[in-house]
């Protein structure tokens, strides 16, 4: 097949270069065609390693094709299509080009069979995504983008250090299961976990993602975290620490999501919470749990993109995205509202929507392994999802208090992108078998049992009952314009404080050291200066005495010479003579 000549990553990355040269319909068709070409390429692949390149005596494997990498590659390609369809009306080529390079490098990470090509794509991913954050060209987005790239470069260094040690230890750059054992594995783990926004390395996500443009945030929501999830499934399945990190991630961000005023930041915390479910699945590490993590990543990529698209549409059409500023938008944006509700139902894991068929696998896996505490935490977190993503996002955006804003529906391409995503959410929830067939392990799991459906519906609906009672009685968390402290405080406030502390502390130490050192240097210099003068005087006076100078005239000559030497105003000839006589004296004395 001709389409199999280039790896998918390169189709996107090289294909992106052409975009600035195209205009109008041709450009739109071209951009939509790229993901289609990649998808066809993926469909034509057979299992095994392809696109192997020799490089400095190492084998770069740009196509490790197995069930695990393929299912993620499918999801990312579908996502690239939806994201670009949603962003089609954007004139800014920077966004399109960096979006494609970002999606392409993610495919590169997912299909990489060796650490070198993985690392190269990993860094391209970090840089290209930064351009999507700063694409809104505001001061806040520039600063957030700067923090984002710094954090990711540090994460990249951990990964690189781990990779170097790993290659030194094993003698190969190929990788598969690693497992937490030895310093190199921990370094690699930290590098990957940072990209998965694992607590406590998570603050970059809610800090940077809400800063993107209405369309670029949709891209951001999909790739970095889920490619990290993929790598964790491949390299660290069953790592117990992931149970702890995952449990923290499903539970802590939901409190922030409840309090947050910015809808896209609510969704960012919700993203962390969803990745937490996946990490728990990886931590459990059984076939059912890993299948669940993969399926959940697949469904999540689509419904999270859908929710960010709905939020992006609102931002684009109203210019506002804070709970305190919007509300009642269902009146003029009913389609956007409907799509948002589908996304909300999917993320809440309502039966017949996509989240239900994937999340329940992870929760069931925790029950099968009899991990009661984790199971309780997951159920608690499920209710939390209902609150912030299932109810808060659609309620405060489209219902709630009427803000008086009468914004129109977004352009047709945005509605189509949301429509397709919504259709996929329902489709995956109803016809889940095709997805189950794609999972890495054979599936013996039936999501739609009576007990499951009734239990899940009770959990969700009685959570919603609590919301209803709380909001009617006025006990629900009031919407307030605010900023909530998170771990990024450490480098945004404490960092600045530490800088000042170091400035005050170290610089005053500097000044003291400088004073002491300069004092010593000065006295040494003046000692030698005076020594030179005295030696010059000693030699000169003898000569002058020989020449017959006496008393006052001798005194005047002595003073003039002394001052000339001390102030350095000696004619060059005399200076040279003094220097030579000094050397002569030294030579004679030794």
């Amino acid at each position: 097949m001709i389409t199999n000549m280039l790896p998918p990553a390169l189709i996107f990355v090289l294909g992106a270069i052409l975009i600035p040269f195209l205009r109008g319909k041709v450009k739109a068709v071209y951009m939509l065609a790229l993901p289609v070409v990649v998808f066809i390429t993926l469909l034509n692949l057979s299992l095994g390693n392809t696109w192997i390149v020799e490089f400095w005596g190492y084998e770069l494997i740009m196509g490790r094709i197995d069930k695990l990498s393929l299912v993620f590659a499918y999801a990312f390609t579908i996502m690239a299509f939806l994201g670009i369809l949603f962003a089609l009306q954007v004139k800014d080529n920077l966004q399109h080009v960096s979006g494609f390079i970002y999606a392409g490098s993610t495919l590169g990470v997912v299909l990489a069979g060796d650490f070198l090509s993985l690392y190269i794509f990993w860094e391209i991913m970090a840089v290209s995504s930064t351009f999507l954050i700063i694409a809104s060209r505001t001061r806040a987005s520039r600063e957030a983008g700067f923090r984002y790239i710094l954090v990711h470069l540090i994460g990249g260094l951990f990964l690189l250090a781990g990779i170097v040690l790993y290659i030194q230890k094993t003698g190969t750059i190929a990788f598969d299961y690693i497992g937490l054992d030895g310093i190199e594995s921990y370094l690699i783990f930290i590098g990957i976990a940072l990209n998965a926004a694992a607590i406590p390395l998570h603050a970059w996500l809610p800090d940077a993602y809400p800063m993107g443009t209405p369309t670029s945030t949709v891209f951001l929501s999909a790739f970095t975290t889920k490619s990290a999830v993929y790598l964790l499934i491949r390299t660290f399945p069953g790592a117990d620490i992931l149970l702890v990190i995952g449990a923290l991630m499903v539970s802590l961000p939901i409190f922030y999501a409840v309090l947050e005023n910015d809808i896209r930041r609510v969704l960012a915390y919700s993203l962390m919470n969803q990745v937490g479910f996946m990490l728990v699945g990886i931590g459990i590490g059984t076939e059912l749990a890993l299948n669940g993590a993969v399926a959940h990543a697949f469904c999540h990529i689509i419904y999270k993109a859908l929710l960010f698209m709905a939020a992006g549409s609102v931002l684009q059409m109203t210019g506002k995205i804070k709970c305190t500023e919007i509300g009642g938008l269902y009146k003029t944006m009913p389609l956007t509202c409907l799509f948002c509700l589908v996304g909300a139902a999917s993320i809440s894991a309502f039966p017949l929507f996509s989240g239900f068929v994937s999340k329940s696998m992870i929760i069931s896996a925790s029950a099968h392994e009899k991990i009661f505490l984790i199971w309780m935490v997951l159920q608690f977190a499920s209710t939390g999802v209902v609150d912030h993503a299932g109810i808060k996002v659609p309620f405060f955006t489209f219902f709630g208090h009427d803000s008086g804003i009468r914004a129109k529906e977004p352009p047709l391409n945005m509605l189509f992108a949301m429509g397709i995503a919504a259709a996929l959410c329902v489709g995956l929830g109803v016809f889940y078998q095709p997805l189950y067939n794609l999972l890495p392990f054979p599936v013996h799991y039936e999501p739609y049992t009576g007990a499951h459906v009734v239990g899940q519906l009770q959990l969700l609906m009685f959570g919603a009952l609590a919301f209803t009672l709380l909001i009617l009685s006025g006990y629900y968390v009031p919407e307030v314009r605010s900023k909530n402290l998170d771990a990024d405080w450490t480098y945004r406030k404490f960092g600045r404080f530490a800088y000042k502390l170091l400035d005050k502390g170290l610089n005053s130490l500097n000044r003291i050291s400088e004073g002491v050192l300069m004092g010593i240097v000065k006295s040494v210099v003046s000692f030698f200066n005076r020594a030179a003068a005295n030696i010059a005087l000693f030699l000169s006076v003898n000569i002058w005495l020989l020449l017959g100078y006496r008393d006052k005239r001798l005194e005047i000559k002595k003073n003039r010479l002394y001052n000339d030497i001390m102030q350095g105003t000696l004619p060059i000839g005399i200076g040279a003579a003094v220097a030579i006589s000094f050397i002569l004296l030294v030579f004679l004395l030794t």
Partner: protein, 81 residues
């Protein structure tokens, strides 16, 4: 001028929606007696466990969040220079 949806401006419709919601809740509780709740854990066999746990989780979440807000909330321009 594009026409607006005003369905929830009418309090009657909101009331209907709420009634439908409450009926659904009751039906869900009744439905539990028709299915076999085959859980791995003992708690799952208590009648209405999921309903109670969902409700309590939700209320707990909101109240803990309200307390948390006292500690972490800052002005919107907290990080601005």
């Amino acid at each position: 001028m594009k026409k607006e949806l005003t369905i929830f401006d009418n309090p009657k419709n909101v009331k209907r929606l709420r009634m439908g919601f409450f009926i659904a809740l009751v039906l869900l509780l009744i439905a539990e007696s028709f299915v076999e709740m085959h859980g791995e854990f003992a708690v799952e066999h208590f009648y209405g466990f999921y309903a109670v746990y969902g409700f309590i989780s939700y209320v707990l979440l909101i109240f803990v969040a309200k307390v948390l807000r006292k500690f972490i909330m800052r002005r919107e321009d907290y990080y601005d220079h």
